[in-house]
């Protein structure tokens, strides 16, 4: 173990040295950045996702969707008459690498904006870089809220656009007793904190709460606790491989999703198909987008993606957010008539609706997306059948009024 520690220590000191060098070079050449990044006929943007490591499986597809949008925009004349040139960097599933690469993109490549990030840890690591350089990050994934930076456009769902609509649906369906299972890190902990406040507020019962370390595969204790708590439904915020172990052991214990309903917040089409649909069939998920949405805009997006990346490719909610982020940025640039991140941000918050595969959406003044929530039930073909929706688009609430009453988002 000592060796691993030393290795990490060395790496981080190398990062600091690199950061210091970058900072020095940035100070000397800061003035020209505007001109170098944007030439007569091209504008550089960054794409920063994990292309290697544990998160690669999810993030590569978001990168693909982002590139698809850029390609489509370029085919239709680009932005303000310029071709978009994407600089792709690998965050390597390491928050420190995300911060380092964000700095590289902004200060070396002098990109106009960056699309990327997935885990909350990666976002939190990049945040100071974007605030210091006054650049703009377009973040595509649902998250736990409780954060509101002027230098990030949050297009993934806030808790009140995913978790709370799911609770609303479950309450309407008559489920009264809830068991919360999650991986032990910031998203499940915060999501469940909010859920508990709302359970209490609505007079519903919290049957139990259990956390497993990220990547953990032993659910014997958790399942015993679920059995003795005997809940009506499980709200599942497990991430990654743990889901396979959880559903497998629940099934072996005689509690498959058909017996005890499960509502998951990190299982999309791609994850369900990779896990084997037999295992998760009949479980529920809440997202702002499902591949099965019938609209024409979605059909043509799915068609274009599958033509480019394989006809069996599954499309998920974060991919669509990665895709629509590019279009939102384009619309904001055109409205502002400038690539300057501050002006683009102002324009993006006051943009009106932009057409996307999930219908027309717009950014709220707090920098998050106004969007509809859908509850889907997983079928044997790996697609979700939409069983309920929030009806109208929901205004994003970065700070839940019950869980974080004293905080508000002032941008």
């Amino acid at each position: 173990m000592a060796f691993r520690f030393r290795q990490k220590f060395k790496r981080s000191s190398a990062v600091w040295t690199a950061a210091a060098l970058l900072a020095i070079s940035a100070c000397s050449g800061g003035e020209e950045s505007e001109t170098a990044a944007i030439s007569e006929d091209a504008v550089k943007v960054g794409i920063l996702q994990s292309l290697t490591g544990t998160m690669a499986i999810s993030e590569i597809t978001v990168k693909n969707a982002t590139e698809l949008a850029i390609e489509q925009i370029n085919d239709n004349g680009g932005v303000l008459g310029r071709e978009i040139v994407a600089v792709v960097e690998d965050g390597a599933s390491e928050p420190a690498t995300f911060a380092q690469k964000a700095q590289k993109l902004i200060e070396d490549e002098e990109v106009a904006t960056v699309f990327g990030g997935w885990t909350s840890a990666s976002r939190k690591a990049m945040l100071p870089v974007f605030e210091r350089t006054q650049n703009l990050l377009w973040y595509p994934v649902q998250f736990e809220g409780n954060e509101c930076s002027p230098n990030i456009m949050y297009s993934g769902a806030q808790p009140n656009q995913q978790i709370l609509p799911a609770l609303g649906w479950a309450e309407e369906e008559g489920y009264e007793s809830y068991f919360l299972v999650g991986s032990d890190y910031v998203f499940p902990r915060t999501a469940n904190l909010i859920l508990k406040k709302h359970l209490e507020d609505r007079g519903l019962e919290l049957a139990g709460e259990a956390y497993v370390p990220l990547g953990g595969t032993d659910f014997s204790g958790v399942i015993s606790r679920i059995r003795s708590a005997d809940p009506d439904i499980i709200f599942n915020t497990l991430n990654g491989d743990s889901n396979v172990a959880f559903f497998k052991q629940m099934q072996a214990a005689g509690m498959p999703p058909s017996e005890l309903p499960v509502m998951s917040f990190s299982i999309g089409e791609q994850e369900a198909q990779a896990m084997g649909t037999e295992l998760v069939e009949g479980s529920y998920a809440t997202w702002n987008y499902f591949q099965s949405m019938p609209d024409e805009a979605n059909q043509s997006f799915v068609g274009a993606y599958q033509e480019a990346y394989g006809e069996d490719a599954a499309i998920t909610d974060p991919m669509v957010h990665g895709y629509l982020n590019v279009y939102a940025w384009k619309a904001a640039v055109e409205k502002a008539g400038s690539f300057d991140p501050a002006e683009v941000r102002e324009a993006a918050r006051d943009l009106g609706g932009i057409p996307t595969p999930m219908g027309e959406v717009n950014f709220a003044p707090n920098g998050s997306l106004v969007q509809t929530a859908y509850v889907g039930k997983l079928g044997s073909d790996g697609q979700f059948e939409i069983v309920s929706d929030s009806g109208t688009p929901i205004d994003p609430q970065p700070y839940d009024p019950l869980a974080f009453p004293d905080q508000s988002c002032e941008v």
């Binding site: 060796f3 490591g53 544990t54 690669a56 499986i57 032990d184 259990a210 956390y211 497993v212 370390p213 990547g215 953990g216 595969t217 032993d218 014997s220 204790g221 958790v222 015993s224 606790r225 059995r227 003795s228 491989d241 396979v244 172990a245 497998k248 052991q249 099934q251 072996a252 214990a253 005689g254 990779a274 896990m275 084997g276 037999e278 295992l279």
Partner: protein
């Protein structure tokens, strides 16, 4: 706390202990004999899991999972023999270098699995008779876990027979007690090392198959079991099969019972604390083999 939960957790503790034991036996054997810490041991579990996956593609259903056990045993043992011959034998008496070299092997094997099978796990589907559960009053016992306990008992029995009753076992015990003296009586200690190391990795491969019944097979699956396996080996007393078994039971039951009161993460922390306190009180482990060698 209700009695049903407690009974369920007692069973789970034994089940977890049997998994720890299968993962730790190979480590205990090779450490006891060669004083070699094999950091790539977890990857033998992974290899076993992927071999089970491949076997089930070839022979689906119930015979497949039974066939996968010998296939994974032989495959992982062969890989272990390769590592022993190409690396560990050449780094004899250099424990730190062995540690680093086997860690390197572990990284290479993980990346190879990632390149061949993809970063996301593959699924080994248990046949239906392993997907059931038996109910005794309030205690529910999943068949897969019962199966794992049975496999562990069989492996332990076979290993005990091998070590106590066969000629190979005799030479293993001899080398374990005093390498130089055993060598002087004509035992080829190098060959004994090879056999024991391959046997240990083979058991790990077998453990990989039964683990695949409970969770996904991923390139990093071995990493989740290597730490508990090391704990079991440390607590068991070096190289003793009986000590390893007792330590696995202690740790499995402790972790399962801790989980009735706290979360899995906190239970892991308590488990580490428990081991630290235990080896403060009994540094030699549950059972220590007193050898007559002068260097101990």
């Amino acid at each position: 706390m209700d009695a049903a939960l407690l009974l369920n957790q007692l069973f789970n503790g034994i089940s977890v202990a049997s998994i720890y034991l299968l993962a730790a036996l190979g480590l205990a054997l090779s450490f006891g004999l060669m004083r070699v810490i094999n950091m790539a041991h977890g990857e033998m579990l992974m290899l076993g899991g992927y071999l089970a996956y491949l076997t089930l593609i070839w022979v689906p259903g119930a015979p497949g999972i039974l066939l996968a056990i010998p296939v994974a045993f032989v495959g992982a043992a062969a890989m272990g023999a390769l590592i022993q011959l190409s690396l560990i034998r050449r780094l004899m008496n250099r424990p730190l270098d062995t540690l680093l070299a086997t860690w390197g092997v572990s990284l290479i094997l993980q990346q190879a699995a990632r390149d061949i099978f993809g970063a996301i796990g593959v699924e080994v589907r248990a046949p239906d008779w392993l997907n059931d559960s038996l109910q005794f009053g309030a205690v529910v016992i999943p068949s897969a876990r019962l199966f794992i306990i049975l496999v562990t008992i069989l492996v332990l029995g076979a290993l005990a027979l091998l070590i106590r009753r066969t000629r190979i076992g005799l030479t293993v015990r001899a080398v374990n007690q005093d390498r130089m003296m055993a060598g002087a009586t004509g035992i080829d200690a190098g060959r004994v090392d090879l056999v024991v190391f391959a046997l240990g990795t083979g058991i790990a491969g077998l453990a990989g198959v039964v683990l695949a019944l409970l969770g996904p097979v991923t390139p990093s699956v071995g990493q989740s079991y290597i730490v508990p396996a090391f704990l079991v080996v440390i607590m068991g007393g070096l190289g003793s099969v009986l000590g390893t078994t007792v330590a696995a039971l202690l740790l499995g039951l402790f972790s399962a019972l801790a989980q009735t009161v706290v979360d899995v993460s906190a239970a892991q922390m308590l488990l580490l604390l428990f081991v630290i306190i235990f080896i403060q009180v009994r540094p030699q482990g549950v059972i220590s083999i007193r050898s007559r060698a002068l260097d101990e």
